[in-house]
């Protein structure tokens, strides 16, 4: 039967992506500049080995999975909600909103009060950005309004962030903020991971809960409502879930853009264009892509490390342009 055939492809895809993500995770643990052989990934030995493993490699690989997964999942859910392949946390301004929130927390010293200040500020910034998007899409969710709203929010966040840099206490502080904004998984600790994991997981739950409703939205908001899914509720789930998952991710790693744009787009044909079927593969592929990018960065010749966010933007921005052109031709 046809449906059974679909199921087999779906499980095959999930299996393949899970395997590749696990493999990339192990490779990520094995690669690095600290003087430890690749065997550290499977068998950390000696005091130095244990420290490199638990303090450097493990948090970095874990964050790759959590942040990349969050971005892929949020991108897939946002595209489903807005029925638009150009929707993405970065394009809609959620990432830069979160970055602004984190910079504000950093700048005004909230970050010293509590470890949670930074992630909370990130979530708040993302919520604010997505709240504006929500208000704008209440009446019409057309593509131009959305992308323009994203442009405006991104510009505003960039301006306010520049303001903070402008008045930074010292050039060193400004530089620190700037480098953090570029987006990187390096030098984060397991405490960072444990700090954001519950917030992220809450976001994932919200996004996952929207799955069936996103399918119903294929038919438009009225039909979705007639099938028992209240569009307002779906918007709250997806935008709230995105704010939690992406906001906390950005607060820890800075802005890693375009993962949420590229990943769902590449996978969509493989899941028969069904938004609900896209979510889990997009999480896995987002994690996979982020891990691979982070591995490649660390295999580059010595020198200042290339930042992850710079790499994803270099690859993602041309891809975005390509999508815009395709959408204009109406062939997406």
């Amino acid at each position: 039967m046809k449906a059974g055939h679909h199921d087999r492809i779906h499980w095959g895809l999930l299996g393949l992506l899970s395997f590749l993500t696990l493999a990339a995770f192990i490779v990520s643990m094995a690669v690095g500049r600290a003087g430890a052989g690749p065997q550290i990934a499977l068998w950390p030995s000696g005091d130095a080995g244990a420290i490199i493993f638990s303090q450097i490699r493990l948090p970095r690989a874990l964050l790759g999975v959590l942040v990349g997964g969050s971005l892929g999942l949020a991108g897939a859910a946002l595209q489903g909600l807005l029925r638009n392949p150009l929707a993405e946390p970065g394009v809609l301004g959620a990432s830069s909103g979160a970055a602004l929130g984190a910079v504000v927390a950093f700048y005004f010293g909230f970050a010293h009060f509590s470890n949670l200040a930074l992630p909370i500020a990130g979530v708040a910034g993302a919520l604010l950005a997505l709240g504006i998007i929500y208000l704008l899409t209440g009446k019409s969710g057309d593509i131009l309004t959305l992308v323009l709203a994203g442009v405006a929010i991104n510009a505003l966040a960039a301006a306010l962030t520049s303001l903070a840099l402008n008045f930074a206490a010292s050039p060193y502080a400004a530089l620190e903020i700037l480098f953090w904004m570029l987006g990187s998984l390096a030098d984060r600790s397991l405490e960072h991971v444990m700090l954001v994991l519950p917030i992220m997981a809450g976001g994932w739950l919200g996004l996952a809960a929207s799955a069936r409703g996103l399918d119903a939205l294929i038919l438009g908001e009225d039909s979705a409502r007639s099938l028992g899914f209240e569009p307002t509720m779906l918007k709250l789930l997806v935008l709230g879930g995105t704010a939690l998952a992406v906001g906390s991710a950005v607060a820890i790693t800075g802005v890693v853009g375009f993962v949420g744009l590229v990943v769902p787009h590449l996978l969509r044909p493989l899941v028969g264009y069904r938004p609900s079927r896209l979510l889990l593969p997009a999480f896995l592929a987002g994690a996979l892509l982020t891990l691979i990018a982070d591995i490649l960065i660390r295999m580059m010749p010595p020198g200042p490390e290339l930042k992850l966010g710079v790499v994803t933007a270099l690859v993602g921005a041309p891809f975005f342009l390509h999508l815009v052109i395709k959408t204009r031709r109406g062939t997406t």
């Binding site: 039967m1 009225d222 039909s223 028992g228 899914f229 264009y273």
Partner: protein
């Protein structure tokens, strides 16, 4: 027992009254046409009956008010086919029709055997079984309209609300869709359709509700309605009437003289 009962059902959009409060009852087995000129409130009444638009008054399914039914049970009871329905992603026709089974499935649950059987019954009813593997983007407008109708049928709800199900279709497919809806009503189920084509409405629908300016002007058999002047007044056209094989045939023939300009302003 009545399938759907509306009491004092009215809709306002801001200050504008889209539907003046009315009482109306529908029985299972009826195929009802909502007719009237543009902006008469046909779609508003249809959506209000489905609980899809904030309305005053009350709609009952059987004897249960819609809000008490809950979203999920309401979705199982009342299926809705919107005007100019479209699909936003290029899913396969089969996956699209299967969306009609969403109210019958729980979170994370796949299509059951019963769901698949319902999907295939709907595909067969609208004669689109051969298209099931095709992407909805690759279908002609007639094929897509039938697939979207199959989606609404796949809910297998006792009430089906369809907004202009035959718009933009050629005569062959218009007749086909009306036959499918009439067959569905004969199960028995309640089918209410917004119709622009008076000829099709008089051919297939036993009962016609005429709306104009948010008010119900007439409610009854098409044959009776055609003997009166309300249809022509509301539509502002002269109608040619004829009878063929014992059934009324109606054709809009000539516009009445245009009314004074201030009445024209209503969109």
């Amino acid at each position: 027992m009545s399938a759907l009962v509306a009491r004092e059902l009215g809709v306002r959009f801001g200050k504008r009254t889209a539907l003046e409060p009315l009482d109306v009852e529908f029985r299972s087995g009826e195929f009802v046409a909502l007719v009237g000129p543009n902006g008469a409130g046909k779609t508003t009444l249809l959506r209000a009956l489905g609980g899809l638009v904030p309305a005053s008054g009350e709609v009952q399914f059987g004897s249960i008010p819609l809000p008490e039914l809950g979203n999920r049970n309401r979705a199982r009871a009342i299926s809705y086919l919107p005007q100019a329905a479209a699909a936003h992603w290029s899913v396969s026709a089969l996956d699209l029709v299967a969306l009609g089974r969403l109210p019958h499935r729980r979170f994370g649950q796949n299509l059951s055997g019963e769901d698949l059987a319902a999907v295939h019954r709907a595909l067969a009813l609208t004669d689109v079984e051969s298209l099931q593997a095709r992407s909805v983007d690759a279908l002609s407008s007639g094929e897509r309209a039938r697939v979207l109708l199959a989606r609404a049928l796949a809910v297998e709800a006792p009430v089906l609300l369809a907004d202009e199900p035959t718009a933009a279709l050629d005569p062959y497919h218009q007749l086909q869709i009306m036959e499918v809806l009439a067959e569905y009503a004969a199960r028995p189920a309640l089918v209410i359709a917004v119709m622009h084509d008076l000829a099709l409405a008089s051919r297939f629908c036993q009962r016609v509700i005429l709306l104009d300016g948010g008010k119900r002007i007439a409610d009854g058999e098409m044959a009776t309605l055609l003997r009166q002047s309300e249809l022509e007044q509301s539509y502002r056209v002269q109608l040619l009437r004829h009878e063929h094989e014992g059934q009324p045939v109606v054709l809009p023939w000539k516009r009445h003289d245009p009314p004074p300009p201030d009445e024209e302003s209503e969109p």
